[in-house]
């Protein structure tokens, strides 16, 4: 819920190109990444952005292809906003926030064509691999979106296939074959409060944004997914500025995936 008092206070700081925690408007908090945080997943990662912490784990699943795309494997992204991560989150089926987050991450990964779904085909029309990513929030202090997208690409990039003898998967044995990733999509959310544009909001800032634009870009700077959020509309000029900033910050984040 928005709070006019805090919002004014935030903007007073923004006016001096400063955040309530002392950061500049275009500055991320400290980012820490850790790979292989779950031995039972085929790929996994932890991302911390300041006090925000997200885990992503990949399970490789044998499934049936869709009849209209008999050679294509599947990508499935699910997000759980655990009540462990914030007093704000409740137990129960995924709420709209976690559904939106999962879909934004899904779109970034899918549309970047980072995973060649044709290579997931085992037997045309019968068996394909499905790459199933579960995103788990551990602690929410804003910007779950960028943390989730980063954890996802890290986990996917470090995924190895489990043993498969043509009939059954043996999940206890990981092979040396990695899931092939051809591109690295990076997602950055740019926020707008009043006339101020900034990245990586903490919770207090996030609940007082007028609009946000989540931009997923690739190495060459091209955009592969967008999502506008927040209740206020954006001008073309805003969009141009926000996309530029997202692309610039994406280059910094990309270093963490190399």
């Amino acid at each position: 819920m928005q709070n006019t008092t805090i919002k004014q206070h935030l903007m007073k700081a923004f006016q001096q190109n400063m955040r309530l925690d002392g950061r500049g408007l275009e500055e991320f908090r400290k980012i820490e990444v850790e790979l292989d945080i779950s031995k039972t997943a085929e790929g996994s990662a932890r991302v911390k952005i300041g006090d925000t912490e997200v885990l992503a784990g990949v399970k490789m699943i044998i499934s049936n292809p869709f009849p209209d795309t008999p050679e294509d494997g599947a990508i499935m992204i699910n997000a759980e906003f655990l009540p462990m991560a914030s007093a704000r989150f409740e137990s129960g089926p995924p709420g709209i926030e976690s559904i939106e987050l999962a879909r934004i991450v899904d779109r970034g990964l899918r549309e970047s064509k980072a995973i060649d779904v044709k290579k997931l085909c085992i037997k045309k029309g019968e068996k394909v691999w499905a790459v199933s990513v579960d995103i788990i929030t551990m602690n929410d202090d804003g910007n779950l979106l960028d943390a989730a997208a980063l954890a996802t690409i890290l986990a996917v990039k470090h995924t190895r296939y489990p043993s498969f003898d043509g009939i059954e998967v043996d999940y206890k044995e990981l092979t040396d074959t990695p899931l092939e990733i051809t591109k690295i999509p990076i997602t950055v959310t740019v926020c707008k409060t009043g006339s101020y544009i900034f990245v990586d909001p903490v919770s207090e800032e996030e609940s007082n944004i007028d609009a946000r634009l989540t931009v997923t870009t690739m190495q060459d700077g091209n955009i592969c997914a967008l999502q506008k959020g927040g209740s206020m509309p954006l001008s073309l000029k805003d969009i141009s500025t926000m996309v530029d900033l997202a692309a610039k910050k994406a280059e910094e984040l990309r270093e963490l995936v190399k």
């Binding site: 039972t40 655990l82 462990m84």
Partner: protein, 237 residues
């Protein structure tokens, strides 16, 4: 022949390597991480806080509410569907019962203490790891408690009584297996979690429980050390 050598080379009374840390989830009022072998558990405590709907409130004392959940990628085999299933709900219930004897709920009429347990990876013994983490998280949250609680599985594989079965031992096929997760309140030496599946004689059961009682103090020491580390007065510089 019998079970002469444990599959991972441990002694019969030897626990898998344990790692514990307090204060791992910033937003929570208390939290902890507990790993034993390849089974890891996070626990976060929120509360005491107001309990809604109101009809669930108890005017004489607070309510301890535990929620055990496996992350979808934490199973040893296929993906686990997220959300509560019958198994998770039962484990949540026995976890509450395992912890309740030490938690002083009289201080918090009408309120609830929520304990969320989440497992990122499991290799048997997940409910016990969850209880160990939860007990630390409650202490970290400053909840009044008579004692810490620690839990581990004991049991029988083929002809041997042993502690801390891993997945391969639970799945042992050349002889009978009994898996008995227990929790202990050290100051009273009482058992607050006891379940079993498999096959065992009464004498062997008592032997297994006795073995658990002698091993659990090792876990308690690790829990205490981790909690004290978080709060140690660092008089450096």
């Amino acid at each position: 022949m019998g079970y002469s050598q444990r599959l991972d080379g441990r002694k019969l009374d030897e626990l898998r390597p344990i790692e514990a840390k307090a204060g791992v989830i910033k937003n929570a009022d208390g939290s902890a991480f507990f790993r034993i072998g390849k089974t890891s558990a996070y626990a976060a405590v929120y509360g005491p806080r107001e309990l809604y709907p109101k009809f669930m409130q108890d005017p004489s004392k607070g309510i301890l509410r535990c929620n055990y959940s496996m992350m979808p990628f934490s199973g040893i085999g296929e993906r686990v569907r997220p959300g509560p299933n019958r198994r998770a709900r039962e484990i949540s219930l026995v976890t509450e019962k395992a912890l309740a004897p030490v938690v002083e709920l009289g201080e918090f009429p009408n309120a609830v203490i929520d304990v969320f347990i989440e497992l990122p990876q499991t290799d048997a013994g997940s409910r016990c790891a969850g209880i160990c983490a939860a007990s630390m998280a409650l202490a970290d949250a400053g909840i009044p408690m008579k004692d810490l609680v620690a839990a581990v599985s004991v049991g029988k594989v083929h002809d041997k009584i042993l502690v801390d079965l891993d997945y391969n031992e639970e799945a042992y096929e050349d002889g009978p297996v009994a898996d008995i997760p227990i929790a202990l309140v050290p100051s009273t030496q009482e058992i607050s979690l006891l379940q079993m599946d498999g096959e065992i004689s009464k004498e062997e059961l008592m032997q297994a429980l006795e073995l658990g009682r002698t091993v659990i103090p090792q876990i308690i020491e690790i829990q205490k050390k981790a909690l004290k580390e978080k709060y140690a007065i660092k008089d450096d510089q």
